[in-house]
């Protein structure tokens, strides 16, 4: 397995991709074909993750952030979900064209994922230890006792107290925060290069959330992993992300460095989001809201999908779909008026 990856890496290096670029999603399109019609869930998503960086994918429910991740992992439910275009390249190789066997080898070792709800992501009828050790047995061909030893090490690494004793506990015997730790242990067991964390702390209390985010950041630093953090929480993003991609109606509407994005958002949707959150550090006046609702994905409005809710919308916004264009170093925005937005005070 490892030698396949190495040869791929060197081949890709020759083709001029930046070193350390692990995962690239390129113009990905996914639709859900349901009884009621076709929902265009992902409409051309492009992003990439390099080794050692954290990309936050920010969006509200229905924006397509989780479906993108599911497509990358190859766990999209088909039907109803169908990939209708684009690529998801890992080390330069399109995973969407790979055989089932090839993709299976990438899962866990190349790319691993942690989910929001650890209780439903873990199998309730096996012990937590068994579920971690299983990977070492199946993928590494370890003996039962070696696998157990490694699994206990993993539990220890994610700071579960008394890892040895906890090995033979079932998921329901763990608290919410511990379950999330166990799932992190499981996803990191095979030392992946990219970790996709889909709302890893949304179901947790703030004090536990802080613990888990710390743990993730620490493990990422140690292993130089690329991390995709999928979330709707602007606070968590500000704390840990290096780069941010904001999604709306199945498209990336803005991509920027974390400091730039919070200081000067280049898309009215991002600006609206930042204005509409209540803040801990100030007693707010009336919140400035984004009017209206996100669009129905079976019937996305023509032009810019955000135009019906946008305070800056002009005639052109109703006619022409703004492409995601570079507006500066490492910054891109899909708004006709991005320049004006960034340059105003």
């Amino acid at each position: 397995m490892s030698d396949i990856l190495v040869s791929e890496q060197s081949a890709a290096g020759a083709s001029g991709r930046p070193a350390g670029r692990l995962l690239e999603v390129d113009d990905l399109r996914v639709e859900f074909r349901t009884r009621d019609g076709v929902a265009k869930v992902i409409n051309g998503v492009t992003y990439h993750v390099d080794a050692g960086e954290t990309l936050a994918v920010l969006g509200e429910s229905g924006s397509g952030k989780s479906v993108t991740a599911q497509t990358i992992m190859g766990i999209l439910d088909t039907p109803p979900g169908f990939v209708t275009g684009g690529q998801a390249r890992f080390h330069g190789k399109d995973m969407l064209k790979m055989s089932f066997e090839e993709r299976r080898r990438i899962r866990g070792e190349g790319i691993a994922m942690i989910f929001q709800d650890a209780l439903s992501a873990l199998n309730p009828v096996f012990t937590v230890g068994f579920q971690i050790a299983e990977q070492f047995r199946v993928r590494r061909g370890m003996s039962r006792s070696d696998a157990k030893k490694r699994a206990i090490e993993m539990l220890d690494q994610v700071k579960i107290p008394n890892a040895k004793g906890r090995f033979s506990n079932y998921p329901h015997q763990f608290s919410g925060g511990m379950r999330q730790r166990a799932m992190i242990a499981m996803s990191l067991a095979l030392d992946p290069e990219v970790l996709i964390a889909d709302e890893p702390t949304t179901a947790l209390d703030v004090t536990v959330q802080a613990q888990i985010m710390d743990l993730l950041a620490e493990l990422q630093r140690e292993r130089q992993m690329g991390m995709i953090l999928i979330t709707h929480d602007l606070g968590v993003v500000a704390d840990v992300a290096d780069r941010i991609a904001v999604m709306y109606a199945g498209r990336i509407v803005e991509e920027a460095d974390v400091y730039d994005l919070y200081a000067k958002p280049a898309h009215p949707y991002t600006l609206g989001l930042l204005n509409s959150i209540p803040r801990l550090d100030e007693k707010g006046q009336e919140l400035r809201t984004i009017k209206g609702l996100p669009p129905n994905l079976m019937n996305i409005p023509p032009g810019c999908p955000f135009n019906p809710r946008c305070p800056m919308a002009q005639a052109v916004c109703r006619e022409k779909l703004p492409p995601l264009l570079q507006i500066g170093a490492g910054r891109a925005s899909a708004c006709h008026f991005a320049e004006e937005l960034v340059n105003r005070d």
Partner: protein, 338 residues
């Protein structure tokens, strides 16, 4: 000072834990709410914050008298709610209404919006005589920002935020004086959450409502509340004005809680000191002796295990705080500092 509309004294709610099927034996109690006292003033919003399992939702249920308290009292304008039953209770319930967290499960999917919002009038016909009900429901829909023409639609035809508006319209139908909001915005997306919060503020100003606003999101609570009570394992550990709790917290738990909230500003990343709590919240069936927070507290001493700290004003705290060693500490990393 305005008068107290609701007075809660030493409220206790314990749930028995049973063992056995035929010969049930009580082997313990989950102490969901264990001695909570506070008052709600006319026209104010009292925020109640705490992590899951601290008893904040049980508190809401007892305030509504959906559950009888194990001990203690809830006085509405001098009348003990927990002692009432039958017609007297029904009349009183008009004055206290509840908005629930999950707009997806708290609305009956087989009823139209008109029926859902009009249902309170069936129980309290004196508020709106039969002929005028549809008109009243349309007024309510308009009030909460929904299209009155959608009166015949079903809940599934609305989005989450719109459903929460339906829940609010239903709570408003009987013109109550108090609305207990149990996590009313936590199931909603950021952009929708702000709309609902603004609506709650607008309605309060318009009708002089008093809110008990229960939530786990400290930023949301700060935004809406005049006073805030912080709960931990069934007890209030600190209570004060919004400013006292957020700018000058004196209880270690409040300080830890505030420091853990992610601030949506990357520039405060570096100079933000998070107080890291270790471990999890202990089980409410078997809380620690003395101060319940002592197992996770960095200040804990021998006295904390022995003596339950009372919720009172102390030398280190200008507002009631239940810590033997209460002292001020600035927590919230403001962006002005950045």
């Amino acid at each position: 000072m305005t008068e107290n509309i609701l007075e809660v004294r030493d409220l206790v709610k314990h749930y028995p834990i049973h063992r056995g099927v035929v010969f049930k034996k009580t082997i313990g109690h989950v102490k969901a709410v264990d001695g909570v006292s506070f008052e709600l003033r006319q026209g104010e919003t009292l925020g109640v914050v705490g992590e899951s399992g601290c008893g904040k939702s049980t508190l809401a249920r007892v305030l509504m008298n959906l559950e009888k308290p194990t001990a203690g009292s809830v006085h509405y304008k001098g009348q003990d709610i927990s002692k009432l039953s039958g017609g007297a209770l029904r009349r009183l319930r008009r004055q206290i209404q509840l908005v629930m967290q999950d707009p997806y499960t708290s609305l009956n999917p087989r009823m139209t919006v008109g029926d859902l919002i009009g249902e309170p009038f069936e129980i309290h016909p004196e508020v709106a005589p039969k002929g005028s009900r549809r008109g009243k429901v349309k007024e309510l829909l308009d009030l909460v920002g929904l299209n009155p023409e959608h009166i015949n639609r079903y809940p599934h035809q609305f989005s989450g935020g719109q459903r929460q508006r339906i829940g609010i319209a239903r709570a408003l139908a009987l013109r109550p004086e108090i609305i207990v909001c149990d996590e009313p915005v936590s199931a909603l997306d950021v952009s929708i959450q702000a709309q609902v919060m603004n609506l709650l503020e607008k309605l309060q100003a318009e009708f002089g409502l008093s809110y008990v606003f229960i939530a786990h999101d400290l930023s949301v609570v700060r935004h809406l509340s005049n006073r805030v009570a912080v709960m931990y394992l069934g007890k209030i550990v600190e209570v004060g004005t919004e400013d006292e709790i957020y700018e000058r917290p004196t209880h270690p738990y409040t300080q830890a809680l505030l420091s853990a909230v992610p601030v949506p500003d990357p520039t405060v990343r570096e100079h933000k000191a998070i107080i890291r709590l270790t471990g999890d919240v202990p089980s409410p069936a078997n809380p620690p002796s003395g101060c319940r927070f002592r197992t996770r507290c960095w200040k804990a001493q021998e006295v904390c295990a022995r003596e339950v700290p009372l919720l009172q004003i102390r030398s280190g705290s200008d507002h009631p705080s239940a810590c033997h060693f209460a002292e001020k500490r600035e927590i919230v990393a403001t962006h002005e500092a950045a």
